[in-house]
């Protein structure tokens, strides 16, 4: 059976509507170019032509989790963009250290690499005991991986390279227990972390934070949706709290540009001022 390697925009919209109506997940304001690639990828992986993909999404309740795993991009790294972590160390941590409690929200955290990187960062800065890190994602399956905190040794090797480039003082593997071909994050680093499902599109403010990181999530959303989520972030930040977006994601909304001061324009770190 040959799978067509293309779907039209109207077919994509049809699928978006179906997923919204049956499963309650709304992909309407996702970037179409990326979303289309994800759908084509699922069709290839599962060997489903378009009509059959619609069919299983409608009739097989268990398939939706698989669909969600593939449609959302779960590619992440520890210490992704080392320059970002260097900027946190020099420009943000001295400020965060002045807060009594440091609550951090890692939004769209996938399998947990970013929250654990932050946990390591806070520990090495001596701020771990007063920090609490929340990792949220739309995908419960990813969060259960995050809770385990077990990563393949192959990945750890590349994360260690990032860690070194981030100018961190220790050795990344010191924060892990190595077992055969996997590495398990140390229990100490799991303390004061909490992972839970949160849908940026439909859920609201759930706490007040000193720092929010949401990196390489906005790239999948159109500007209208980005602004909507910026509002959630803005309302979730304490005064002078920090918002960190991906290094290729800038705030374009005039309204929020006035209320979020640029701390680092290269790494897109902002501070709530208004």
């Amino acid at each position: 059976m040959s799978i067509t390697d293309d779907i039209s925009l109207s077919e994509l919209n049809e699928l978006i509507l179906l997923v919204k109506q049956i499963h309650g997940f709304d992909f309407t304001n996702y970037t179409k170019a990326s979303l289309k690639r994800r759908v084509l990828r699922i069709m290839q992986l599962k060997k489903l032509p378009f009509w059959e993909l619609k069919n299983v999404l409608t009739n097989d309740p268990l398939f939706f989790q698989e669909f969600l795993d593939e449609i959302t991009v779960n590619v992440t790294e520890m210490f992704r963009d080392p320059a970002f972590y260097r900027a946190l160390n020099t420009q943000v941590l001295p400020y965060l250290a002045t807060f009594q409690h440091i609550k951090i929200w890692s939004a769209g955290c996938s399998s947990g690499e970013e929250p654990y990187s932050l946990s390591i960062l806070m520990q090495e800065a001596g701020l771990k005991s007063k920090s609490f890190i929340y990792g949220t994602d739309i995908n419960a399956e990813m969060l259960s991986q995050a809770k385990k905190g077990i990563y393949s040794l192959r990945n750890i090797k590349s994360y260690a390279e990032n860690y070194k480039q981030a100018g961190m003082p220790g050795t990344l593997t010191d924060h892990f227990t190595i077992m055969y071909d996997a590495a398990s994050i140390q229990t100490e680093l799991k303390r004061n972390t909490l992972f839970s499902v949160h849908n940026l599109i439909s859920d609201n403010v759930f706490n007040e934070f000193q720092m929010i990181t949401c990196r390489n999530v906005f790239i999948y959303f159109d500007s209208e949706l980005q602004d909507k989520i910026l509002e959630v972030f803005y309302n979730s930040l304490c005064s002078f709290g920090f918002l960190c977006l991906g290094s290729k994601e800038t705030i374009r909304s005039e309204y929020y540009r006035k209320r979020l001061k640029v701390v680092n324009s290269r790494e897109n770190i902002y501070q709530k001022i208004g």
Partner: protein, 205 residues
């Protein structure tokens, strides 16, 4: 190279709404020579995808930017695509085109061990621009870009491959030649000549 219709190539290059240049090892110089010959206000946006390591940013922009009249910038998510710019695909992201002439970045899986992948950008351009686009695939050591170039060709875009014999690394252009992805197969000298002609005509209008 006997039956190449030069005026046809130049005409198609001129009418393209966007020009795509892709390559890997050995592609820097031929691409650099094209960018360097661009006038400051060239109306056609140019998008460059060169394979690069994940944590090495800004060197291509700087190398190009310091030596060119045209504005060279690294792509940020949702940047508007406008003339007078050379856009460089950032490391550790795929670059796609969104309707309404904006870029959309993506951090999904590597393609042919590459991020940015040339295939991803070419295929997305085929969707967004169809035949109103021109693409050139240069030297490189893997087969990324070949399939994307074929997709473009099938949509009626102008597709050119650097002659594998002329390329520092032949694997990438050869992969494209093997699947018949290029309308024209030319040495880099000749590609540059056509580009210069195109730029001259476009900017004298």
């Amino acid at each position: 190279m006997g039956n190449i219709n030069a005026s046809e190539i130049v005409k198609h290059l001129q009418s393209a709404e966007v020009l795509l240049l892709g390559g890997s090892a050995g592609s820097f110089m031929p691409i650099f020579n094209i960018i360097r010959s661009l006038p400051q206000n060239h109306p056609q946006p140019i998008v460059v995808v060169i394979h690069r390591g994940k944590n090495n940013f800004s060197d291509i922009e700087n190398l190009f930017g310091d030596n060119c009249r045209i504005l060279v910038r690294e792509i940020s998510d949702k940047d508007k695509i406008a003339g007078g710019h050379v856009y460089i695909a950032p490391a550790n992201y795929h670059t796609l085109f969104e309707k309404g002439k904006t870029f959309a970045l993506d951090v999904s899986e590597h393609v042919w061990y590459s991020k940015p992948s040339i295939d991803v950008t070419f295929e997305s351009a085929a969707d967004a621009y169809g035949d109103k686009c021109a693409a050139i695939l240069f030297s490189g050591a893997n087969q990324d870009g070949a399939k994307g170039l074929l997709t473009l060709r099938n949509k009626g875009a102008l597709t050119i491959i650097q002659d594998p014999k002329d390329a520092e690394m032949h694997v990438m252009p050869q992969a494209a030649v093997d699947i018949n992805a290029g309308e024209f197969i030319l040495p880099s000298e000749q590609i540059l000549k056509f580009m210069r002609e195109t730029f001259a005509i476009t900017n004298s209008q």
